[in-house]
């Protein structure tokens, strides 16, 4: 009997812990983004982070994009064939990528590659007391270390999502037109007719931006908040990938319901 009460109390405690963590992360985000760094060339710091977070993720994004586009075209063709609508494969690939897979898959890949790297990097800085050193010298680590990484994520991920969509559509074209024999004109023509800039491309971009904010925020916060030990860092890295992925999928549903 008392063990049930204990469990409930434990649940309540962890629930409160979650709420506290969310509050901490909110304050963290605000303090990192508000105001400018006293020291440090903000632009060159941002540049460096854009490189490590954006450019270095290009490889996985492009390869995944091409493959997913190809699979979409392949599967789409097989399904549409039964209805005599193979020419619609172009718009199917494009709409699926732009509305859903582009932002979502990019966000998930980003969380796994760049997000976990950010968490580990910041966590390691915390564990080796580099963040404390910065404070002692008088530099706010939130502005010097965290903020550039946040902005880099906000900027890089939507760009990556757009690139993902384009290479995906191109990969789909390779399969549909060159391999499966769908008429090139139909592929691109139907696509152009049914894809709307406002409803599809822009909404996909908005999704990508929302995901970018959420994923980068989680990644950076987990690193900053972690236990400064090696297990602490590895736990934080895992948490980043799990929480970010769940958040992206959940938000995707909400945004899709709102937008489409």
């Amino acid at each position: 009997m008392s063990s049930i009460l204990d469990r409930v109390a434990g649940l309540g405690r962890s629930g409160l812990g979650v709420v506290e963590a969310i509050g901490r992360s909110g304050i963290f985000l605000f303090q990192a983004l508000a105001g400018r760094s006293r020291y440090g060339n903000g632009f060159s710091l941002l540049l460096k982070q854009l490189y490590s977070v954006g450019v270095l993720s290009l490889a996985i994004i492009i390869v995944s994009g091409i493959f997913i586009g190809m699979v979409l075209a392949l599967q789409g063709y097989n399904i549409l064939k039964d209805y005599g609508s193979e020419q619609a494969v172009g718009q199917m690939v494009a709409l699926t990528l732009l509305r859903e897979l582009g932002p979502v898959v990019t966000a998930l890949l980003f969380a796994g590659r760049a997000g976990s790297a950010l968490t580990a990097e910041i966590g390691l800085m915390k564990a080796t007391e580099q963040l404390s050193s910065l404070e002692m010298i008088g530099v706010d680590p939130l502005k010097y270390i965290v903020a550039p990484r946040l902005w880099a994520g906000f900027i890089a991920m939507p760009l990556l999502a757009m690139i993902f969509c384009v290479v995906g559509i191109w990969g789909g074209a390779m399969v549909a037109v060159d391999w499966l024999g769908v008429y090139g004109g139909s592929y691109w023509g139907n696509m152009e007719n049914s894809v709307q800039f406002g409803a599809d491309v822009l909404n996909g971009l908005i999704k990508a931006v929302v995901f970018a904010v959420v994923v980068t925020w989680i990644a950076v916060f987990q690193g900053y908040d972690c236990d400064p030990t090696s297990e602490g860092i590895s736990r934080a890295t895992t948490r980043t990938v799990v929480y970010a992925s769940l958040a992206v999928l959940g938000l995707d549903f909400i945004l899709t319901a709102l937008m489409f």
Partner: protein
Amino acid sequence: MLETADLIVDLQQVTFTRGERTILNNVDIRIPRGKITGIMGPSGCGKTTLLRLIGAQLKPDSGRILVNGQDIPRLGREELFDARQHMGMLFQSGALFTDLNVFENVAFPLRVHTHLPEDMIRDIVLLKLQAVGLRGAINLMPDELSGGMKRRVALARAIALDPELMMYDEPFVGQDPISMGVLVRLIRLLNDALGVTSIVVSHDLSETASIADYLYVLGDGQVLGHGRPDELMNSENPRIRQFMQGEPDGPVPFHFPAGNYVDDLLQKERQP
């Protein structure tokens, strides 16, 4: 014995808790200017917390922390920024910035707090590195340095702005005898030649006692005793005695609290 007029750091009735643990309970600590003061005690007694309180990384629950007359926890951001210019801290692991090379690491505080031209910065960096004996390593990256070298570079960085107060967090942990000797010599040198006040937090008795002018022994969130090293060695207080003499059992017990020994053994026999 202790001139209260010339204190560089004055902790007055400082209490600090973390969660349910009281780490410091109404402690008074006075650090004299120009001397090397050692803060010692068993692990977890709050030594590192003390340094962080002085450096304003943590705020006390109550009490005043005066550094050079300024109440540190209550300073505004601008004033704190200026105050930090006069404090240097050497962290346990060195804490060099891993993405910058040795030169940039040492130059970092200079770039943050001053607007000196590049060649002046270079001169100062060379000077500091020469003082710690690592001028030749100026272009290396931190991961190319040994542990002892990292710590020396970190020391060079900590003294880049010629602070009045230097704080050393467990500087002797895990050092081989040569590195130990180097470090001890440097701490002594800085203190004698440059008049830098030093606070050394450590649980290494022999090294700390050998260089400290004055010692504080902490335990259980309290100051157990303070005085010159030779005074404390002969202290009557059993807890200070246990620490100073390195006795394995005493006020800090050898056995972790447990039930009856015989009962434990018998229970084991009954379980299949």
